[in-house]
Amino acid sequence: MENKSNNKIIIEVKNLTKSFNETMVLNDINFKLFEGESLAIIGASGSGKSVLLKNIIGLLSPDKGSIKINNLEMVGLKRSVKEKILLDLGITFQHGALFDSLQNWENIVFKVKNKEKLTDKDAKELALSIIKRLGLNSEILDLYPSEISGGMQKRVAIARAICGNPKVLLFDEPTSGLDPVTGSLIDKLIKSAVKTVGGSAITITHDMASVCKVADKVILIDKQTISWSGTPKEMLKTDNAQIKDFIKSTNPKLFI
């Protein structure tokens, strides 16, 4: 777990607590994401995984605690500075969150086109190069998100996240709703995206096969807090009942 301790800390979450009205969702969450590391966050539905991600990217504010990205405190940070930091992050949302009114290629290059002032032609070529890596064909580029399948939408959302090679990738259930072959392709892509740019990734998932493929470190969120953490190998041998149940449901040994 501490083998990356000599590396730079990319994201550090300390004593994070978040409630909605009277309901506590996260309580005293602590973890570090090191440079070049891929972290998987697992947990039952409604355990607060997505809430944690939204706190990290500043869409929600924690009640207590600290979130540092590249050693910069995000809680209470000026919005304009926060936005600049977020530009270096690649994020996918649980349901894709593609812009309905834009064609797929415009969705994919949305951030990069604005940032680097690309022409439509160059931007479209960039989008094409990315979707090829995701096993999509060029025909979907000119279509709107509503005109492609849910699985394709998921891949377009991932394409949007990795466009511009951000150093930090945050994926919220990237393989849910995908067939096993495409899911496996996405896992490989996440792994290679982290390796290629020497970046770091946080992946929220229920898919234990996916965890084994993409993660260097795993944390389990249960009863509002991190109830277990370790490597994927340790995960397969753990006595933690919830992890055992997760493993039983997918038998990741088949996929390693």
Partner: protein
């Protein structure tokens, strides 16, 4: 004792509702100021402003034209029936002109646009909110207020005054058609009376009203859309609330503006 408790309970509920109402007004005011701030800050998304102008201006023209055209016709007919002793070209022309330019043109246009565009804006933004598209925008280096809201407000401020001017013209034309072809008035006298009674203050007042209605429709619709929650139900609520509140505010503000100009 029970009665006192019940009274306290009722007062508490009323108080809570009132505080919630004040809180909503406060939120709307903050939204309003923020939106105005982003209207004047670059970058301006000209492509989006252009699309909004087409949507609000060009595509609203048929419904606004039809509404004001028939209103002008009805007005001419009712004026003729209502003022039977004074039936002449000048009376009908004057009533049609004044009613259309001062009230009916701006108010009917405002209500039609609130129904057509306000509902669309609220539904579009609310859907983007509940499907996390607005959250995604923020993480992609784009400010939602600047990218989504500002173009809609700018386009409304440009289009609705133009729509009102066109609607006024069409409404007066409707009155003219009835006056000439049904009431068999003299076209030259009717036209002369129309031009003679046309006053700059009426046109200015109508345009000011239209600009304020544009601001009301876009702000209210964007506010409800932007703050939508609870999935599909939230989208429905945002759409209904935006149309109802825009319409009420249009009817309230038209009185205030008229009182300021002619009171």
């Amino acid at each position: 004792m029970n009665l006192i408790n019940s009274i306290f309970k009722i007062c508490g509920t009323i108080g809570q509702k009132f505080l919630k109402f004040l809180s909503n007004i406060g939120h709307f005011f903050i939204f309003f100021i923020t939106a105005i701030f982003w209207i004047f800050r670059p970058p301006w998304y000209f492509k989006k402003i252009f699309y909004q102008i087409i949507d609000i201006g060009y595509f609203s023209l048929p419904v606004v034209g039809l509404t004001t055209f028939f209103s002008g016709m009805v007005l001419a007919l009712q004026t003729y029936n209502g003022f039977s002793e004074l039936n002449n070209e000048t009376t009908v022309a004057r009533v049609v002109l004044t009613s259309i330019t001062r009230e009916l043109g701006p108010v009917l246009t405002g209500l039609m646009v609130a129904g057509r565009i306000g509902a669309k804006m609220a539904a579009e933004i609310a859907t983007m909110r509940v499907t996390e598209q607005i959250d995604a925008l923020g993480t992609l280096g784009t400010r939602p207020m600047q990218y989504l809201i500002a173009p809609k407000i700018i386009a409304s401020l440009i289009c609705i005054p133009v729509l009102v001017l066109l609607g006024n013209t069409i409404g007066i034309l409707g009155g003219y058609i009835i006056a000439i072809f049904k009431l068999e008035f003299n076209p030259s006298i009717y036209l002369y009376a129309t031009v003679e009674y046309l006053q700059w203050i009426d046109i200015i007042q109508g345009t000011v009203k239209a600009a304020i209605f544009g601001l009301i429709i876009s702000m209210v619709s964007c506010y409800f859309g932007f703050n939508a929650t609870k999935g599909a139900e939230g989208v429905g609520y945002a759409t209904t609330a935006s149309v109802v509140i825009s319409s009420v505010m249009i009817l309230t503000s038209t009185y205030i503006i008229t009182a300021l100009f002619f009171g």
